[in-house]
């Protein structure tokens, strides 16, 4: 949505042509207006009043228009500033705090609209008065005496606009269905990935262990080596199975090339974890050439940052796994900055966690074999998303083909 402001012009604005002039000036300066109210004086000496909503494509453009309109006698009807209250304790927001959405949000502070930085759903907004900045802050990071936005007056949330072009990524996408033509959807994803590269925005992959079980590891590895992945989020499972396959050619004991259970293969994953723990970590294992292939090897070799967030049912875990959930969230928060596209493949837990951190402006692609999971992820407030019901390996194979890898 374009930035806008409401202005009032009153007096003998009809006979003096001030009103037509105001409207012309707005258009000459590439702005748009909406007449909210117009009352015209009955007799010659009676004043007339018009209330206009003036919009422009950017905040500076709006300021230019407003400056000109003020010179023509218009007075901006500024919205009130946000209400602020101080946090009484660390990690506790004031009781009436404004709870954020993941949509672009602005607050009115010291008479100007300011974008809320690092927007994320279900957080508070902390205002830094020394720099007049507004920062979206998770509850646990609120410090005592921080100034927190309370109530919703002076807060403006900008809904995402429906694209005029027919796009693969559509606002409030139609229901997920396994019956959709996947080739076109995947071609659309490949196109979006190219656009991200051109716009220098990051591509995030969130992947679950099934990606390795289904034999998709090789394709993800190919994407990483070709530079299509800027950051990887996963858990202990994906990394363990990937390393197991690199060391033993199996995932959970199943031979990935033949699809059969290997003899005594059931403990391969524990041996893989043990080997990496012995090396000190995945990076060290790659450096010592203990691990020479696979997704994790590709990440280390191509300096693609990865965040492995642990969970309560992890084996081992690998030394690289962040076992403190709050630390993992923070590291993920840092890594999602600059992300324009998120591919969530065969993952529920990590995909939901990531979805919670992403602004709604980030395009998301959810791929899972289970339609229920895709629907669940698509329903979690990520507005510009598409869901693809597919096996992870086939999706990645087709994506690689669409990207000519």
């Amino acid at each position: 949505m374009m930035p806008s402001e409401i202005v009032r012009v009153s007096g003998h604005i009809i006979d003096s042509l001030i009103l037509p002039k105001v409207l012309d000036e707005i258009m000459d300066l590439d702005g748009t207006f909406e007449i909210l109210q117009l009352s015209i004086g009955k007799r010659k000496a009676d004043p007339s009043t018009a209330r206009l909503k003036v919009s422009a494509r950017s905040q500076p453009a709006l300021q230019t228009i407003l400056k000109r309109l003020v010179r023509l006698g218009a007075t901006p009807e500024f919205a009130p500033d946000v209400q602020l209250a101080r946090a009484r304790k660390d990690g506790v927001l004031p009781s009436t705090f404004y709870s954020t959405t993941n949509l672009p949000t602005f607050i009115r502070y010291r008479g100007r609209w300011r974008a809320v930085e690092r927007i994320e759903m279900d957080c508070g907004i902390v205002v830094d008065p020394s720099r007049s900045r507004a920062i979206c802050t998770p509850m646990i990071h609120v410090k005592r005496a921080d100034l927190v936005v309370c109530g919703s007056s002076g807060v403006r949330v900008v809904p995402l606009e429906r694209s005029r072009r027919r796009e693969v990524f559509q606002f409030m996408h139609s229901p997920v269905s396994p019956e959709k033509p996947k080739a076109q959807l995947i071609a659309g994803v490949a196109q979006a990935m190219r656009e991200m590269k051109r716009a220098r925005r990051k591509i995030l992959v969130v992947a679950g262990p099934a990606l390795i079980h289904t034999g998709g590891g090789a394709f993800l590895e190919r994407l990483i080596r070709a530079g299509w992945v800027d950051v990887l989020f996963a858990g202990n499972g994906l990394a363990t199975h990937d390393i197991e396959s690199a060391l033993f050619g199996t995932a959970l004991g199943v031979d990935l090339s033949r699809g059969t259970q290997t003899r005594d293969g059931h403990d391969h994953h524990m041996r893989a974890i043990n080997t990496i723990r012995d090396c000190g970590g995945i990076r060290q294992a790659v450096r010592r050439r203990t691990v020479t292939k696979g997704v994790m090897h590709a990440c280390v070799a191509h300096r693609v940052p990865y965040v492995l967030a642990g969970s309560i049912r992890d084996d081992g875990p690998l030394p690289d796994v962040l076992t403190d959930a709050l630390i993992a969230q923070d590291v993920m928060r840092q890594q999602v900055r600059g992300v324009g596209l998120a591919l969530m493949i065969a993952s529920t837990l990590h995909a939901i966690a990531t979805g919670n951190l992403l602004p709604a402006t980030v395009k998301t692609v959810c791929v899972d074999i289970n339609p229920a999971v895709v629907t669940k992820l698509s329903d979690r407030g990520t507005f510009q998303g598409i869901g693809i019901v597919s096996d992870a390996a086939s999706f990645l194979r087709e994506l690689c083909a669409a990207l000519r890898l």
Binding site: S10, G11, H12, D15, S16, L17, I18, P20, K21, K44, A45, P47, R71, L72, G73, A74, T75
Partner: protein, 259 residues
Amino acid sequence: MCRPTHYTIAYEINPWMRLTRQTVQRRAAQQWAQLHRLLTRLGSSVRLLRPVAGWPDLVFTANAGLVAGGTFIRSNFRYPERQGEEPVVERHFRARGYRVVTLPRGCNFEGEGDSLWIGSTLLLGFRFRSDAATHERLSRVLEREVLPVELVDKRFYHLDTCFCPLSTTSALWHPKAFDRYGRKVIERTVAEPIAVTGLDARRFCCNTIVVGRHLVMPRGVSRPLRHRLADGGWVIHEVDLSEFLKAGGAAKCLVLRLA
């Protein structure tokens, strides 16, 4: 009127003023006295404002405010160089029993310099000195229609430098000093507008005092304009006001109409 006892060029707040082009005190006094004499001779009764040292432009009494019956709407000068004149004129009018109306700070208004009656409508020039928003307050005080018109040429920074009502239906004006909206407003409001050329406008022909059928104009009116006015039955009196032109003012700027 106000004697030019302390009149000088002390600052530059319009394109006419040059600190290097100073006034000659004696000549200014003579020119002013000549204007004063002429007005009296034409039957005007002239009241004087006492000059105050330090406020050289007090001589341009047209900018002091606007008189409407027993009400005096005091000016709010845009430039600090002239804001010191405000209490001087305010005291003067209070002492003479006028109801003095002041506008809020930030609502710039330079009196008759920027507001002139055409019939029962007041035209307000804005941009360089007065503010457009002021018109609403003026209309509330005066209970009359007030039409703001935008000035676009810095040399004609006040309405009275480019517009002069001669009667309820006719006026002298320099169209290029207004934008197209302002031109349209004047063309609609004034039945018989008389456009003056750039040359006449630069000689401040629009800065004319109207006394009955007599026009008191600064010297240098072009022949065509003179003929046109004479044909309309106007009697022209030219006065040398060269010393005041140095400050961007002429005949009309030196007087404020009280009745």
